[in-house]
């Protein structure tokens, strides 16, 4: 046991011999969490900015702008046409919508009217903006639509004597329709699983920080492989042969050291998220601990196995960054896997990162308890066993 601890302590000292290791240990993970969390949710108004040009200046145009303002997806930014076009060319706004002159008059008469919409070509945001604009437009138009329907039926039964009579009938219909819409009962109720609702979480922020935690713990754990290369190339690994410490003791020492560091790192990141970013980490500390420890084991074991394949420290650091990022990406740590096509979601089940992310999602977003993450923890332990066995079998001192 003392030997294992000595080896673990030696590796920790080795890793932090340069202060720049702290960058990867804590600084970059925090920066990434804040930026990715902030970009997807964040404080303040995170709705998509949409440029709005009001060339009508009428009552219904103002109503449309208000409807846009109420949208949960977009936030209107009013500009005159020249300024709006300049801003749109700058690519920072996914959509530009123009309310044409005469909009209120035409709509009031119950006649169809078109808004000019321009969207950025490649952007998912543009798609969302289009839907939100259409929804706002429909909300404004529906009173006019109802009034126009009423006028048409009246006209079918008995034509209006004068245009003034028709207009008066339409205005009356419009007022009745508006009153009816205002008094309409709620016909949709959106609910969430009880536990999740109790968390009242910033879901996007929680998802981002869980994903970043996995990414940034994984990369240095994969770089465990560099330790082997360092000792092997320096000849110190051979020297270990002369001590009474066996192969198993040495490997256990290395793994214990790296896992210990990873646990400290995870603790710091969870703490930072909870205290500074005010993110929730779920309501089950035991579940969280179980999941993080099993993930740490799987990742360290993978790093150990990698260590038996690579030859130089340079290869190890390159491979750990590349592999770590790829595994994190495919595991849904960067972008929610709900965006992935079916085949990618299925294939990703072969990766430990997918299981870790799924477990964290259960805890921090669904608010489930330790029982819910037992399957994920078991799979992660399985990964650890397979990687560790491979690593030990392939391990050579020279």
């Amino acid at each position: 046991m003392r030997q294992i601890l000595a080896i673990a302590w030696k590796d920790a000292l080795l890793r932090f011999s340069g202060r720049s290791e702290l960058l990867f240990f804590i600084v970059l993970p925090i920066v990434f969490t804040m930026l990715i969390g902030g970009a997807t949710s964040g404080s303040g108004d995170s709705r998509l900015p949409v440029l709005v040009v009001d060339e009508d200046q009428g009552e219904l145009a103002a109503e449309l702008t208000q409807a846009l303002q109420r949208s949960t997806a977009i936030r209107p930014v009013l500009r005159d046409r020249a300024a709006a076009e300049a801003d749109f060319a700058g690519d920072d706004f996914p959509a530009l919508v123009v309310i044409p002159a005469g909009f209120s008059t035409v709509l009031r008469a119950g006649t169809p009217v078109a808004l000019e919409l321009r969207t950025l070509p490649d952007s998912v945001n543009a798609l969302a903006a289009r839907q939100a604009i259409q929804a706002a437009a429909d909300a404004v138009a529906r009173a006019s639509l109802a009034a126009a329907g009423s006028v048409a039926q009246a006209e079918r039964l008995r034509p209006f004597a004068t245009e003034a009579e028709r207009t008066a009938y339409f205005e009356d219909a419009l007022a009745r329709a508006r009153a009816a819409f205002d008094a309409a009962p709620a016909r949709l109720s959106v609910t969430q699983p009880v536990n999740a609702a109790a968390l009242a979480a910033d879901d996007a922020g929680a998802q981002a920080s869980a994903g970043q935690l996995i990414t940034w713990v994984l990369i240095p754990l994969l770089a465990t492989s560099a330790l082997f290369a360092y000792e092997r190339n320096g000849g110190t690994l051979r020297r270990l042969l002369t001590t009474p410490a066996g192969k198993g003791t040495y490997l256990l020492g290395v793994i214990a050291g790296q896992l210990g560091l990873a646990l400290v790192q995870m603790l710091l990141l969870v703490g930072f998220g909870a205290v500074v970013l005010r993110l929730n980490w779920g309501s089950s500390p035991a579940g969280l601990a179980l999941l993080l420890v099993t993930f740490g084991l799987a990742a360290t074991a993978l790093g150990t196995t990698l260590g038996t394949f690579i030859k130089t420290e340079g290869q190890a650091s390159g491979l750990s960054i590349m592999l770590g990022m790829t595994l994190a990406l495919l595991g849904g740590c960067w972008y929610p896997s709900e965006f992935f096509p079916e085949v990618a979601q299925t294939a990703a089940r072969l990766l430990p990162t997918t299981w870790a992310m799924q477990g964290l999602t259960d805890l921090v977003i669904r608010g489930q308890d330790i029982a819910a993450v037992l399957p994920e923890a078991a799979v992660l332990l399985g990964f650890a066993a397979v990687f560790f066995t491979t690593g030990v079998a392939r391990f050579r001192y020279e």
Binding site: V97, P112, R118, R187, Q315
Partner: protein, 417 residues
């Protein structure tokens, strides 16, 4: 001058022999681009490149009436077949379980009596007490659940409009004397039919995209990879240049720098040669990545002249950062880890991971300090069909960045030696 080229060429050859370096310079960006393409559905023939497709949704219809059936049919319609993967079940509990187990993005539960709460009874003209359609949303799939909510809300809005239209029409017909009260019940069916015919004309406000908008036309075949590939290329270009800066320090530590200086070569020539080597390696790396992704992923980068010029200029700006880092770092190891940190930091700031457009204003301004942001802007412009002329701003920004960073690096180097 020849000496500078020779030193630069030597450094490029050295890199080509370093398998570990090649791994990060070429393999990593290609693998990550490939992975991004994979998860975004680029290779599975998905029509919608946003990645939102086949959103799993489960529908429970307890309403025996026509509205419940109509809403359930919306989810089964051909129009939404690509966006949604809808299933039905008879039990609320089963539907909720599917959401809880992450098998569905949302459950739509249509309560009993929904139709009769909206459509007035023929005989009495009255509706039953209002009931609400429940959307049980999966918090782990906020986007998918949001899409389902939009669809349900859209349907309900139409229902409400139809209901209000019917009521207003009747009330007004009666109030204006066009319809006598005793005729009312007989006219219901006919008026309802007339209203329905009128309503089928669709939305009163439509959204029109100007056909002369070139961006909209190009949008049809914009390739998401045209965003990922340059993003990853820029990310790992930063690795190459900081790695190059590291080699400057390594050469001093290994003693080959004094040896170079013992030849009839001036320190300025040696430095220029090393810088040229870094620049050459960076430009070659991006060039190879562009070529490889064109061949492997049949990705169109756009105007070849524009792409070539942008590669040369963005490599210069990135080299500037590599030099500045080498000027400040004390040991090769320090330059190495600071370099990796800088690469990742610039990657996230410059939009290689998430679009910088989503950041708050001050961060967007900060992202302009990275060659990544300008390079990405340039490459996206080209992929959207732009030409060299459209690159004036990014090129000018990158060139000024290069000039300022070179000057700063030289100043720091001078002070240190």
């Amino acid at each position: 001058m020849k000496k500078i080229f020779i030193i630069g060429w030597k450094d490029l050859m050295l890199v080509l022999r370093d398998r570990a370096a090649l791994l990060l310079m070429l393999a990593a960006p290609l693998v990550l681009t490939l992975a991004l393409g994979f998860v975004s559905g680029r290779f599975s023939g998905q029509a919608n490149p946003s990645g939102l497709a086949d959103i799993p949704v489960v529908v429970v219809n307890h309403d025996g009436g026509q509205l419940g059936t109509a809403l359930a049919e919306v989810f089964a319609s051909d129009d939404l077949a690509e966006l949604l993967a809808a299933t039905t079940t008879a039990s609320d509990a089963e539907a909720r379980r599917q959401v809880d187990d992450d098998l569905a993005a949302a459950a739509v539960i249509i309560p009993a009596g929904f139709s009769s709460s909206v459509i007035p009874a023929f005989d009495t003209g009255a509706t039953t007490a209002p009931v609400a359609v429940e959307l049980y949303a999966n918090p782990a799939r906020p986007v998918g659940a949001g899409v389902v909510e939009t669809i349900v809300a859209g349907f309900l809005s139409e229902v409400e409009t139809a209901q209000v239209t019917g009521r207003v029409t009747f009330d007004q017909l009666l109030a204006s004397g066009r319809l006598a009260p005793e005729q009312a019940s007989g006219a219901v069916a006919e008026i309802a039919r007339g209203l329905m015919e009128g309503q089928s004309s669709g939305a009163l406000i439509t959204l029109q995209t100007p056909s002369a908008d070139p961006a909209a036309e190009a949008g049809d075949d914009f390739d998401v990879m045209a965003f990922f590939a340059p993003g990853m290329a820029m990310l790992f270009l930063m690795y190459t240049v900081t790695h190059g800066g590291r080699s400057l320090l390594a050469e001093r530590q290994a003693g080959t720098l004094p040896r170079l200086l013992s030849t009839p070569t001036s320190p300025a020539q040696v430095l220029a040669g090393k810088v040229y080597g870094i620049y050459l390696t960076g430009a070659a790396q991006v060039g190879v990545l562009v070529l490889a992704s064109s061949l492997l992923f049949s990705l169109r980068w756009g105007d070849p002249l524009g792409v070539a010029v942008l590669i040369l200029v963005v490599a210069a700006a990135a080299t500037g950062w590599g030099l500045l880092l080498a000027a400040f770092a004390r040991t090769p190891a320090q330059a190495g880890s600071l370099g990796s940190a800088l690469m990742l930091l610039f990657g996230i700031l410059g939009g290689s991971f998430v679009p910088a457009g989503n950041f708050p204003g001050w961060l967007q301004a900060l992202s302009r300090l990275t060659p990544n942001a300008w390079g990405l802007e340039g490459f996206t412009t080209l992929a959207r069909g732009g030409s060299l002329a459209g690159l004036a701003l990014p090129l000018a920004a990158l060139l000024s960045m290069a000039a300022i960073l070179f000057a700063a690096a030289v100043l720091v180097f001078r002070r240190k030696s």
